[in-house]
């Protein structure tokens, strides 16, 4: 199933590169994909290690990139705003960069979140962002989303 998606993504990338001119796009949660495309400062800060790929859905676009060995998928609304981020890989990515302006409230909420001994998942609920981590060795996963930014008709569970 995953392989099929990847193949799909690859062809969409070709399509997007050709028709839409998407290249090297990366944006933090809540930011605009379009605006970040030209933001060389942010790009260097997060060390995107491969070209992002994108695929279009009915009411959002997924941009996939490799980020320090972790596969990160950004969910952008039709207006280009990143409303959700999902990832999986050997380690969780550095959320400080990925969460952008939401990072400080995430870190504050993380401090208030009690440790869940014996569990393989974590949910951090901040006022404007929710971060979930789960998984096990060799396949750590997670997602972060800003509930206020989720386009109508999009289920949170689609961010994965």
């Amino acid at each position: 199933m995953k392989k099929k998606i990847l193949v799909l993504i690859f062809f969409f990338e070709l399509f997007m590169l050709a028709s839409l001119g998407v290249r090297g796009a990366w944006a933090a949660l809540g930011e605009s994909v379009e605006s970040i495309e030209s933001d060389g400062k942010m790009l260097s800060a997060v060390k995107v290690t491969s070209k992002p790929m994108s695929t279009a859905r009915a009411n959002y676009t997924i941009y996939q990139l490799e980020y320090d060995g972790t596969t990160v998928r950004e969910y952008a609304s039709p207006s280009g705003i990143v409303f959700g981020i999902a990832w999986n890989g050997l380690v969780n990515p550095d959320l400080t960069a990925l969460l952008g302006t939401y990072a400080s409230e995430y870190h504050e909420a993380l401090k208030q979140t009690p440790r869940k001994y014996g569990e393989r998942h974590l949910e951090v609920k901040a006022p404007h962002v929710i971060v979930q981590k789960w998984g096990h060795m060799r396949n750590l996963q997670g997602r972060a989303y800003a509930p206020d930014l989720i386009p109508a008709g999009v289920n949170v569970d689609e961010i994965k």
Binding site: H121, H136, M137
Partner: protein, 631 residues
């Protein structure tokens, strides 16, 4: 011609006469020279009626020169002999020097003699031997006595023990000899025959016995420990008096006494699992499976056992907090830099520290040498993924983790060429940078390094009642189908996994990625409307767990990573809040679960009452080729 060949008779006769005269003269001459001294013992005193090894006493004896010329100076030696003859005698230390004796002259004198060690008990004549040749025997004998330490009582051992276990023993030593025994050491053995033979195994622990006068006893209790490396089997327990053989005893064959009952040591591939039991630290979190491992300085017998190690089929490799580690290990190097690792777990926690090579003992298996992770948040400058690294066993909830999932190295091929893998770091002077790491240097599941039992593990934990149990003990068997105790029954189905140790579960109409994990303490899966989160009812302390109004029966279908085989699993989810608060003394619960964003985590409740087989990658068993989960 003929006459020429025969000498004349006259010549012959004359020659014979000449020879005869010469012989007579020679004989006379010898007779004159043989007028020599002849030293003879004419008296010796009796020895004391009793003596002991190292016992000493005075001897008075008389030597007379019964020859016809002066004797040379000589030495008189003394012997103990049970027969009265020197050829069976035991030389006593002590002698008497005799000067020149004229013919007929006697020398009467005294000498102090000492009975040597190792002289057997018995009745001995005292011999005095002039010039160590001509002996006289005493009229009476000396009885040689000695202490004789005998174990008269030994307590019975437990019915079964594992290596590394300790148990108390009580024994009594009595001196059956007729002489006081000085202080001695009693030691303890396991023996399959009941005798202290070449196969007897010395246990750790000993008892110091005070000096015992004849007939007296010493009773005491000590704790003995079963060392590692003992073959499985059934043994008698032995207590052996004067086991360092410090005392010369009249009977050296009666020091040991065997227990009346025997103790069984299991096959070497067994580790005890206690879920919230004796191998777990106090106040452990719910549903926590604990094991014991032994860690040794490489290539030495400098070992320690460490309890409160989380048994985790959801990870690979042994990780131990530096605070719990007493033995020194050998640093794993990448070139001239020290190898360090940062691992993250699904709950968002992380562990940081050096990778060091240790000799690991699992159960009673032979030592395996593997890189292990020494968790130490204080080491060097932590990289970003370990910014929240656990600082102590108390913070983490365990002394360490034994990762026995279906892979050998913890990272695998993803870390062998990419230095930016964000798990492994090469550190110099506390400054660390990302590094690629060959598989052989990665922290690795020690089971995969065993010589025989390297193809996986079996987790066996009994079922517990729905309202829980204080604790439950099970076992981890190493190897699948490698010994008499780990052969899978035909009913076991194995499910191949993907490269992340995941298979699939069809649940609530969805096909989800899933995994088995003893390191998870509940059943975690995407929430259903019938399973509200406890946090919404009972507050944030309970969030993450399901709190249905009554227990919900559920089922799911597990299948291999590529769709087959498949099999149904039935399970129950109860109200977490009620279960734990209505059963405050219980720590192990079979019906607890909570939400999981995507996928299913089959934690400890899945394992209660179900033997789970974990097949390691690139190995095979009758269940197939790993990686797989089986049950």
């Amino acid at each position: 011609m003929k006459s020429n060949r025969i000498p004349s008779k006259t010549f012959l006769q004359g020659g014979l006469i000449t020879i005869t005269v010469a012989i007579v003269l020679l004989t006379l001459g010898v007779s004159q020279a043989n007028a020599q001294a002849n030293l003879v013992e004419t008296s010796v005193t009796n020895p004391p009626a009793t003596t002991t090894e190292k016992g000493h006493f005075w001897v008075t004896d008389t030597v007379q020169n019964q020859g016809n010329t002066n004797s040379s100076p000589s030495v008189t030696q003394y012997y103990f002999s049970t027969t009265g003859t020197k050829d069976t005698g035991i030389l006593l230390s002590g002698k008497r020097s005799i000067g020149i004796l004229k013919p007929g002259q006697s020398s009467r004198g005294m000498a102090m003699v000492t009975v040597p060690l190792q002289t057997p008990i018995g009745n001995y004549y005292l011999l005095a031997c002039a010039n160590d040749t001509n002996c006289i025997s005493s009229a009476k004998t000396a009885l040689l006595t000695a202490p004789d330490l005998v174990e008269t009582l030994v307590s019975d051992p437990p019915g079964s023990v594992s290596t590394g276990d300790s148990f108390p023993v009580t024994d009594t030593v009595q001196n059956h000899g007729n002489k006081s025994a000085p202080t001695s050491i009693t030691r303890y053995y396991l023996s399959s025959t009941g005798d202290k033979d070449s196969g007897a195994i010395l246990l750790i622990g000993k008892r110091s016995i005070p000096s015992l006068t004849s007939g007296n006893t010493s009773t005491g209790t000590v704790t003995v420990e079963i060392p590692f490396g003992i073959p499985e089997g059934t043994y008698y327990f032995l207590a052996c008096a004067d086991d360092t053989n410090k005392i010369a005893e009249s009977n050296e064959e009666n020091n040991c006494k065997a227990s009346s009952t025997q103790v069984t040591l299991p096959l070497p591939n067994v580790l005890q699992i206690t879920v919230n039991g004796s191998l777990c630290s106090a106040n452990s979190y719910l549903n926590k499976p604990c094991v014991r491992v032994a860690v040794c300085t490489p290539n030495t017998t400098n070992c320690q056992t460490i309890d409160d190690i989380l048994l985790d089929t959801g990870s690979y490799g042994l990780r131990i907090f530096k605070q719990a580690l007493k033995v020194s290990l050998q640093q794993e190097m990448i070139g001239s830099a020290a190898l360090a690792e940062c691992v993250q777990f699904g709950d968002g926690s992380s562990d940081w520290g050096l990778v060091e090579i240790g000799d690991i003992i699992l159960g009673n298996e032979p030592v395996v040498k593997v890189p292990i992770h020494v968790i130490n948040a204080a080491f060097g400058i932590r990289p970003q993924p370990c910014s929240n690294a656990d600082t102590s066993p108390a913070e983490a909830g365990f002394n360490g983790i034994l990762g026995v999932g279906p892979f050998a190295p913890d990272c695998g091929p993803q870390c062998t060429s990419n230095p930016q893998n964000r798990l492994y770091y090469a550190c110099s002077g506390g400054i660390c940078r990302g590094t690629a790491v060959p598989l052989s240097s990665q922290v690795s599941n020690p089971v995969a390094s065993l010589s025989i039992d390297n193809n996986g593990v079996i987790v066996e934990i009994p079922a517990v009642p729905a309202d829980g149990s204080t604790s439950v003990d099970g076992q981890l068997l190493l190897g699948i189908g490698t010994r008499s105790n780990n052969i899978p029954p035909a009913s076991v189905i194995s499910y191949p996994t993907d490269e992340n140790a995941e298979f699939q579960t069809i649940f609530n109409g969805q096909t989800l990625q899933s995994f088995l994990d003893t390191g998870s303490n509940g059943l975690f899966f995407p929430a259903l409307s019938s399973l509200p989160d406890c946090g919404s009812i009972y507050g944030p302390d309970y969030s993450g767990w399901f709190c249905p109004s009554s227990t919900v029966d559920l089922s799911a279908t597990n299948q291999g990573a590529s769709g087959s085989p498949s099999g149904m699993v039935q399970f129950e989810i109860g109200n977490f809040y009620s279960l734990i608060n209505d059963n405050l003394s219980n720590n192990v619960f079979p019906d607890i679960g909570g939400g999981f964003p995507d996928g299913i985590d089959w934690g400890i409740p899945f394992h209660l009452g179900r033997d789970v087989y974990v097949g390691i990658e690139n190995t095979s068993s009758t269940l197939g080729t790993g990686p797989y989960w089986g049950y």
